[in-house]
């Protein structure tokens, strides 16, 4: 199909349908309410299910119920709403149910503001719920990529029987860009007969399924958690995605940045090139698993003297960047949040200052 001009939120909604997900439960919150406003008329066209829940707490468990019944299901929300869903996300991880959560981040903490932010990085990658639970987290940097990631997210969620989160910022949701949708995917988790509470009659085995996360025997619970850990390790081995930008030749500094922020950084890298300063950029497309090896390797390049984590937050991803660089190079953070987005000019300034201070230390 030809390219169409769509808002990120609309593209996310349409992509889910094209990924065969015809079930959506949500509660409105800026800056992602367009997803619900799109799906409330679009889903009935394809005989799908649209329901506006009474709260994000309830929505998380509507997702649980539907996922547990063996269908593709997703929701979208923004930072405070995701906080309310986080208990349910932990239960989904515990019960090993596939579902997709989209977080179009806004400023925080608390009510914060509605403008773009990346301040839920740690929540998404490390602190999404109680217990040893993890999400596979994907971070799109364009409307096209948001659509593609939504379509990848469902099979990934089903492959691991684990929720997947698309972590976008307000701009990704609100911006309009041309988008082209890949072809339809299948519409049901192919492995659901083994676990879904979809009614015994509907399964060859005619034995019942229990969807649960309670394990009273400590040995059993430990084993369950070891199994979950093995899954997360498998994600680390198989699902890392990232983009290299201007890293073929020598560069004096390496920027790590994701989402909208990475696009600003790309502009800065291009402008620095015009001034004769080469800077490489790595853009994580998955935040969990994090492209540790790629960043570690890129930072270790002989010409590279410093690493900069640029974020629309007060320094969250920088912890993972430091972990990846393992002390081989100085790692710095630069960022703004609450709706302020660093401009290319500011980033150029920071890169130059960093390189100068690094030189003066030698």
């Amino acid at each position: 199909m030809p390219k169409v001009l769509m808002k990120g939120n609309e593209a996310i909604a349409e992509a889910a349908i094209r990924a065969g997900c015809l079930n959506y439960f949500a509660y409105p919150i800026t800056p992602q309410s367009e997803v619900a406003e799109y799906l409330c008329w679009r889903l009935p066209e394809v005989n799908g299910v649209f329901l506006q829940g009474e709260s994000e707490v309830a929505v998380a468990y509507m997702i649980f119920g539907a996922a547990g019944a063996g269908v593709r299901v997703f929701t979208t929300s923004s930072s405070p709403g995701i906080s309310l869903m986080s208990e349910g996300i932990s239960y989904l991880c515990g019960a090993e149910l596939p579902a997709v959560f989209v977080n179009i981040m806004r400023g925080g903490p608390g009510l914060g503001g509605i403008l773009p932010s990346q301040a839920d990085y740690l929540q998404a990658t490390k602190g999404i719920g109680h217990g040893d639970c993890r999400l596979l987290v994907m971070a799109p940097a364009s409307v096209q990529e948001a659509a593609e990631m939504v379509m990848q997210a469902f099979p990934l969620a089903e492959k691991y029987r684990n929720p997947v989160m698309i972590l976008g910022d307000g701009l990704i949701g609100q911006m309009m860009e041309p988008v082209e949708f890949p072809d339809h995917l299948r519409s049901e988790p192919s492995n659901k007969d083994g676990w879904a509470s979809s009614g015994m009659d509907h399964r060859k085995s005619k034995t019942r399924n229990l969807v649960r996360s309670l394990f009273l025997d400590p040995e059993q619970l430990n084993r369950h958690n070891m199994d979950l850990r093995a899954k997360y390790e498998r994600m680390k081995a198989e699902e890392v995605q990232y983009e290299n930008f201007n890293t073929e030749g020598d560069y004096q500094a390496l920027i790590v940045s994701y989402g909208t922020m990475s696009r600003v950084c790309k502009t800065a890298v291009n402008m620095l090139k015009e001034q004769g300063i080469e800077v490489g950029l790595i853009r994580p497309r998955t935040l969990f698993p994090f492209p540790e090896a790629a960043i570690g390797e890129a930072a270790a390049k002989v010409s590279c003297r410093a690493v900069l984590s640029v974020e629309m937050s007060m320094g969250q991803m920088v912890e993972d960047v430091e972990r990846s660089v393992r002390g081989a190079r100085p790692v710095q953070w630069y960022g703004k949040c609450g709706g302020e987005v660093p401009t290319p000019e500011e980033i150029i300034e920071v890169v130059k200052t960093t390189l100068a201070s690094d030189l003066s230390r030698r």
Binding site: V59, A95, S197, S198, K206, V211
Partner: protein, 256 residues
Amino acid sequence: MAKTFQRPQALFDQPTHYCPGCTHGVIHRLVAETIDELGIRGRTVGIAPVGCAVLAYNYIDCDFQEAAHGRAPAMATGIKRVRPDLMVFTYQGDGDLASIGMGEIIHAANRGEKFTTIFVNNAIYGMTGGQMAPTTMPNQRTSTSPFGRKTEEAGMPIRVAELLSALVTPAYVTRQTVIRPKYIQKAKKAILKAFTYQMEKRCFSLVELVSTCPTNWGMTPPEAIQWAEDVLLPYYPLGDVKTPDADVKEAPCKTK
């Protein structure tokens, strides 16, 4: 009749973990019998609550999901919306339904979600050790109301059946009990009706069952039954509070 003592197919043949004098076992049996009689075991999904009945799936033999505290109605909504062909019931206690999950039950009932709720009201939190519930009676002593429930602080106990029947949408709301054999047939009929209405795609139905908790009430089982009759039943009167044929003009309930 020998039939009375036959184990329903939907009930596992194993003793329950419930305390002597607890009514969960009887209610499990009534639900299992209903599932058998309607022949729906293969397309039924139960939702077990947080509470003493968290392990209900160990006794009732059909597909089950295990809820977070209070969220069973949201989960039932999720299942029923995406799989309207399944028969879905939630099994909830008073802490689960009337306290932490009050928002979920009211909205599910008001949307007319086509599932059935079995609400076990024993006026106390059983699982966590006898704390005060929203349905605890005035002056009733619990581990968090050691001097008795003070209504000036905690208000009067919530009559869930009446509260939900104030909504226009729900199809069937009734209160029954199983504390003595003489009440059980009526309770059974109510559960059967509630499931039947679900099969007929009528809006939400709820069966409240006034129950006993001798262990946490600190009474022998006979004392508990007597107390329930003397104190609970006058405040929680038995009978249908809302039937599907009332309010037909306004309610969106439809038979198929």
